[in-house]
Symmetry: D2
Subunit: 385 residues, 4 copies
């Protein structure tokens, strides 16, 4: 049984998320990077590929070339899936080309440039009957899976309140914005789409809330804004939520909260108990009760649920982090590919990976919150797609 073969589009020199994808894909030695189109600049793509120990003939000058050339290779050598790590506006074209060429797609989020593309992408996935995975990384943490499990078993009772927040501070100052490659494209509507803050991090928070509670957001009241003068896109926002079961919620996302790092945190309360999880201390899950002491659940201990255990690599007390969570998504997606090859259903661990439905919901969330923020009306329905 060979490793699963991955090609990559984007992620050349100086990129952030491409390297993160490579760490995550490599960690478990189950996936092998076999080719890439790392940059639309052919020389840069070659330099990147060389640094990654790839043979020159598997480093391409464009994603189109990559699709074509890989198809010419024997089936047991060619890549099996494409990892897309470009800025947002290129997600869809690459995904489309890959699906049409018969490759599975594993994409960075948000899935597409806008909702329209996401809906089209869903059609393409169905039509070509390929796998699609989306890196809502934070759902890869074991304690997030435990949180979902605690809600699903009913331990917390009926969920009545959800507070999810995602403050960052890295865009608080306009200085250096243009030189900073990460900032530049996220603030550029031609590359990022109609939102910076909601598109980059708010959508993670929304996914996390739905993933853990198992509930869909049904209505929003939105207040987005640009704290730094002159920005076209939002760099801060708060969204009041209603969930399909009537629960209230608040989603806060900010890129201008000076001194905050990547402080994604969620609290969910039911009528019997509550939970709290923070991304910066990801191996702890707090469970709170009305009638007994708060409990500290920890990654790697015997009492956690099967899915949490299956997504854990080290013994308790040996902290796992962001790359391990990211790798959990890659392992799930690789498991889906193997299951498909073997003609079986993926197991629970492999099935547990955001896909095309999450892609559509995420793009709908971004468009809805921007639209609702511009409205004088308080509440706006989350559309069904």
């Amino acid at each position: 049984m060979a490793k699963i073969r991955m090609g990559m589009v984007g992620g050349g020199e100086g990129a952030f998320i491409g390297q993160v994808h490579r760490y995550a894909a490599a960690l478990d030695s189950e996936i092998e990077l076999v080719c890439g189109a790392f940059s639309s600049n052919p020389e840069k793509s070659q330099r990147s590929g060389k640094a990654l120990h790839l043979p020159a003939d598997r480093v391409y000058s464009s994603y189109q070339e990559m699709m074509t050339k890989e198809l010419e290779l024997p089936a047991d050598q060619r890549m099996q899936f494409v990892s897309i790590v470009t800025p947002n506006h290129m997600h869809f074209p690459v995904a489309k080309a890959a699906l049409e060429a018969g490759f599975h797609v594993f994409s960075d989020k948000p899935a597409t440039f806008d909702l329209k593309e996401a809906l089209e992408l869903r059609e393409l996935v169905k039509k070509h009957d390929k796998l699609f995975g989306l890196t809502h990384t934070y759902s890869g943490y074991p304690m997030v899976k435990e949180a979902r499990h605690q809600v699903a078993t009913g331990e917390l009772g009926k969920i009545t309140k959800v507070v999810v927040e995602y403050p960052q501070g890295w865009l608080a100052s306009p200085e250096g914005e243009e030189e900073n490659k990460q900032a530049a494209w996220r603030l550029n509507p031609e590359q990022a789409g109609i939102s910076c803050c909601m598109g980059d991090i708010g959508v993670h928070a929304a996914h996390l809330a739905e993933y853990i509670t198992g509930l869909k957001i049904s209505e929003v009241c939105s207040d987005l804004g640009s704290v730094v003068d002159g920005r076209v896109l939002d760099d801060d926002g708060t969204v009041l939520l209603r969930f399909e079961n009537g629960a209230r919620g608040v989603l806060m996302a900010s890129q201008v909260s000076v001194g905050e790092e990547n402080a994604l945190k969620i609290r969910a309360y039911g009528d019997q108990g509550g939970l709290e999880w923070s991304q910066q201390e990801p191996n702890t899950l707090w469970l709170k009760w009305s009638d007994r002491p708060t409990q500290m659940y920890r990654t790697g201990l015997p009492y956690v649920c099967e899915l949490a255990a299956a997504n854990t690599r080290t013994p308790n007390g040996h902290p796992e982090g962001y790359l391990e969570a990211f790798a959990n998504l890659y392992m799930a997606f690789a498991g889906q590919i193997r299951a498909l090859e073997n003609g079986v259903e993926p197991d629970a661990r492999s099935a547990d990976c955001p896909g095309i439905e999450e892609a559509v919901r995420g793009m709908a969330f971004i468009e809805l919150t921007v639209h609702a923020s511009n409205s004088e009306q308080k509440w706006h329905k989350f559309p069904n797609h």
Copy 2:
């Protein structure tokens, strides 16, 4: 120089906040409880007074009797101010009677039953030229004063974002609601007014935000609700804020967040730095910066501002808590009385106590958030009174 003499209305057997007021007033040995009308039930009032070591002739059957009888005593024996610790609906009648009888008033919050009463109260305070203090206790903490100082000095730059949250869980379940004296009156519109959650704790959060930032709230978008079926008043709510300088904010208050205790927390961000303070660990203030490590400010250390230092009793590392914060308000109010007697201006420490303007703003906040929550329109102006 004798101690300042205090009378109390309310706070008989089984009450919570009355006993807290007595601890706070006693701590510094600068204030003496000399009389009280602890209950509208004369026997209960007497029993309460006896347990407090008061002579029987200074324990009264009604607040009206207290005002009358105390006035008959020599000026150097009679009470100098009245501490009001009744349920909300009785705040105004007692305060009015006290002011008209020539006594200063120190009142539990919210100041009155509704905004109309608060505006009338302000007229009475002016007319009778008496002192009025209001127990927004959380502004009594040294590190809250340090936070205010950090904003005021401009260290954080222009404030752009404020997040204040106040989750509790004690009203999450309807069971025992009627037997619980604290719950019963807060959920009863005849005693509490038009709001439970906003009136009881949201108003604290709003005051804290304005106190620390030095900014007034100028607009709100409000979403209040009753999570537990059958309640007339809100037990949970989120309010989006705008401040007078354009800053965005979020205020969350909840009495149904199971497992939360009294988790008031505020974060404020400027374009240069941010701060974070949590009531349950009140001796720590976090200062966050874009370009240097986060700092942990601690009560009692030499670098804190004068006002923080003046409101601290123990050396650093010897934790102070809620009662010390509460006592700081009593000490400030007692200082105002002494200054008035001596015909001087109160010093900075004494002047630093919420008063009649905070009383009016608080009642306006409560009415505004209830009104705005019932509206389809998103934003509502905070009225000037």
Copy 3:
């Protein structure tokens, strides 16, 4: 029923611990400061007394005068107990005079200048049949009482390991040592006795370990030292412990751990569970288990033991601190006086106050650790007295 009447020796202007005692005694309005000899300087004593609102004729120029004059007052006016808040070398003379004059004694720790005095003090207490209380303040915290309860009920199993640490940093630098009144006497062998660090804080740590575990220390191996050049007394030390049941332990105390405040912390492990408590976050007690999640016990919640509940003043989430813990000892001692007056046994809360046996053990601990530190031999028995 009148308040309990207290006289004070020491604690004049500029003192630290005297004021702390006064806050603690005043908090519950059950004890009244009626007289004092606040300084051996008569003018300073008078100034201090005046600032405390005492009549001039109850402010004395010496403790001897205080004993004599108070005895001349009617029994229902004279002080009932003496609070001793002088430097160590004056504890015994004052206590002796008070006991011989028929007053109960409530003393700051360590009880005496040396062990010899402590043994003599014990004889005096017995001979005069008076009450003696000792301010091992940290045992006054509700969560410390809960910790003791958890051990006593056997929940943790047989105790096998105890780690107690007490780092401070305030003596890390020799600068300002002489001007700092607190530092000056603690480092002066004529006032402090044979130890600074062990006498000032190590003895608190030892008491806390014995109080919580219910076990006596049976052997020590000691390593004390003066980190700052030129000091005669220790400013840092570690002591290996054996307890009577065979459990191992470590006691660390330091006054030169730069940046530490008053970081007393204890961990105790049994064969079934462990506990952890930190003085700087005193309202939380961690209980750790081999087979289930760590639990966070919190002051004021319904599940805590009776003694913890009885020593709590505010609802959960309203933090109590050092002064409340201190006041708990005063309340216990006042309860003992009332019980004695009423000819009944003190209730559990009142009985729970360190007394003369803890005084003797504390002084024995200090002498033993200094002696053992100077020895080449590893282990030294804790003597029975």
Copy 4:
């Protein structure tokens, strides 16, 4: 430039640390596992190799076979170094065989079965002029490197006190000891050597203290014991330390502290400042000062030292953990191999990996603490080797 080629001895099915080594080696895609002798049971070794996607002819039945067969391969295909992940008693035989066959060695700790072997190993490393690396993993964390940097720059002043603790709880109960592969060999003197607790974790703590402070331990006073009845080897111990500059220290290690996970923590104090780092929250380093607020240093922020930055993969706020720290050692060792091949000196990052001198000191520490624990004499010199 190809990846560095690694062979592995040990780490077959059911092993813990072998899999950790493989994650760590794979993460950066700079090292390739090319062969292994995963078990002394040939079938088990083959099964393990197959699961790792290795060709059958690179999976060996013994380490001796591996050395022989790999040498027969062309130089650009054969492994370049051997990773040793067996129980302790097999470290030396494998390392010796590898060195004699001309392979570099990267070994799990402790380096050997006893000190005698470690000294012999040092001779072999010198004689064969090969590289030797040792996985004192915790020195791989970026914030540990920052801590070392802060001491080295003199910011903390002269180091006067070090407290390093390493509590675990997994061996608190004798139940299941024999079935638990990890427990069984660590408690067996024929496989583990003369110590369990000091050999397994105490030696990590000692290395961490020396690595961060840059100071050598010069004397110890040791108290080891077996808390669980019937154990031949220690499962708990405390060691008092002196460092070469006169600083005092305490090292605590325990495997019977119920409920503790892997709670390695170090505090070091100088006369100007102190530091604190905890392995379970590894991305934070606390710096404490006598005259200004405590600072929270965080992984990935611009102010950290070059070596910390070079050992960081993700942006601040994206937590890194144990596997990343482990991978840092692998990357350093791989860097040493590349530098050697290129005939240059390794850069600072590559040079920063524990080696043969740390191997000898570690074994000396283990033997010294066992010896000193059995002695009636308090202090014992740390021998120079």
